[in-house]
Point group: C2
């Protein structure tokens, strides 16, 4: 069983997997290289993965057989596992617990060489639907406090397998970064009695310079203090705190916004490495974050952040949390709008 | 003039340098490659840098001439500059200010091909002395709130020039990461009326398993929840909150601890890329952090963190702030102790 340990000076958790290994310097390549012949995610290789948890597949077809469009499986080398007790305990001044949780892989297509930014609207809708369904399923486990959905593209963004996939984690703790974002949103509400994300959407719609695209339900924009060139956010226009409440009719409009954003980035930057990170409300902790007249559902607003990984963080950025970004988000937005207009995408 | 912008959802600042440029994907190499012939940091090239701020050089020798051992200059492409007004202002819900501060380079040796981990005790003492003196000088400017000293080694740690150097930044804000660390230390003090770092030193001295080395003034250890394999901390044994108060007689013992830690990491991991980051108390904000019976100087404890950069952060780590580390710090410490014993270093 893996172990989680908490640093008493930052409250940051670190997960130590069960089997440790000599850490190699990750190779200097753009994409991980594992051939389709030995790829466990390819169609026809369903028996090389743990049994599937959920799949988008033709009605009546058997689990763990070909024919699926999107398939979710547990990670074989999961750093968090469903089985066991959380076992919260101390060791002197330190805190630790067992690596209880979920660590799932959403295989996004049977096509080993598929490119997320080239996926069509129907496939992206299936993937968005899968994110929502996995979240709806995992929140039922009373031990979990947060579900993290993310996507790593390219070795520099931490990807280890070339077959297109996303990751879904369920955690027995509220991650530090999530807790901080919620605290900031709560402070904003205390001051203004408004959601900070709703205010961002409103101001960006007025300013226009950082907006890349907008459809009936979602806005794609470069945030005012973008940490890295072409950092891109996707926000629901209407206030919504939990991604798992996403309405059926918004699945396709979100798929369109994700498609447009990733296509524009791929086109403008030549398939850069990136992380796509879903930020949503934690679960089963509403009471903890509900202050007087201030329910979590009213002040927190789910959204997606896409972070291109164009260069390494340096010690100044690591140590301070202050980033140096050589490109103003207004200029990045103008370039992405230019690509979208040219391609008649969206 | 560069601009600082603050993200309203995280309170994180981003610095936008004056001239923006098309962001390149940083090259896939271990070390930056700039030849000594055109290196502005090499002896004899003093006229290719802005005038020196401070140097360790023979008594009576002229500034900006060869003969120096350690030399501090302003960065020619500084992202923060001394001249001008801070100009704090808003833009709707957003906050921004001018890029006022300092951005200095400590050239650590005239030798272009020198290796920090091979520096002798005398040179490392000069470098430690320089860090302290730059900090003592920069705190005089009433606009500054934090001085960040750091060192980037290798392209993957954000280094851009091969000549050995460290960086000193002065900031008109308290960085988010520093503010959080101080808040955690304050919470610990409220609970225990003890410094969390002093308690860490005591527990590690008792447990022994994570200690790499100790001398009369400093302890080198692998922290309990190390975020990355071989993350290494150096802490003063006696409680001290501000690095700039470092006593003269501790310069050489700190130099020995830094030498030993970086030599052991270089030996065990083959000169890995790393960041060395000094964490110290912010300045001119004691009132802000002093709570009743709880002065900042009593609960915060300066220290150095060395973070080897062996692999890329993935989306899960970026999004949650929870790290996955495949090597327990006890095992890393044992390996580093083994290297030290073999080499009879320290």
């Amino acid at each position: 069983m893996s172990i989680l340990r908490r640093d008493p000076t930052s409250y940051g958790w670190t997960i130590y997997p069960e089997e440790d290994f000599q850490p190699p310097l990750s190779p200097c390549v753009d994409q991980p290289e594992n051939p389709p012949e030995t790829c466990p995610f390819c169609a026809g290789h369903e028996d090389q993965t743990p049994p599937e948890i959920m799949a988008v597949r033709p009605p009546g077809s058997d689990p763990n057989t070909p024919g699926w469009r999107v398939r979710t499986i547990p990670d074989r080398n999961a750093v968090l596992r469903i089985e066991g007790q959380v076992g919260r305990r101390g060791e002197g001044l330190y805190d630790m617990m067992n690596g209880i949780g979920a660590h799932e892989i959403v295989v996004e297509t049977p096509d080993h060489h598929g490119l997320f930014s080239d996926f069509d609207e129907a496939l992206l809708s299936d993937i968005v639907w899968m994110y929502r369904e996995r979240m709806r399923d995992l929140v039922k486990d009373p031990r979990f406090r947060y579900i993290q959905v993310c996507r790593n593209y390219g070795v520099r963004a931490g990807a280890r397998l070339s077959h297109p996939h996303s990751l879904v984690f369920a955690l027995p703790v509220i991650p530090r970064a999530v807790r901080e974002e919620i605290s900031r949103a709560a402070e904003y509400w205390q001051m203004k009695e408004r959601c900070v994300f709703c205010d961002i959407v409103n101001q960006e719609q007025t300013d226009k310079g950082r907006v890349v695209f907008q459809n009936s339900d979602f806005i794609v924009l470069e945030p005012f203090a973008a940490r890295t060139p072409f950092e891109t956010w996707i926000l629901p226009l209407e206030h919504e705190s939990r991604f798992l409440d996403l309405a059926d009719e918004k699945i396709v409009t979100l798929a369109r916004a994700v498609r447009l954003a990733t296509r524009a980035l791929a086109s403008e930057l030549g398939n850069p490495p990136y992380n796509l990170i879903l930020h949503t409300s934690p679960i089963r902790v509403e009471k903890q974050f509900d202050m007087q007249h201030m329910p979590l559902a009213e002040y927190y607003h789910w959204h997606i952040e896409i972070i291109p990984r164009l260069r390494e963080l340096n010690g100044f950025e690591y140590g301070t949390g202050i980033y140096v970004n050589p490109l103003l988000p207004e200029k990045a937005a103008a370039r992405l709008r230019g690509v979208i207009d040219q391609n008649h995408a969206g």
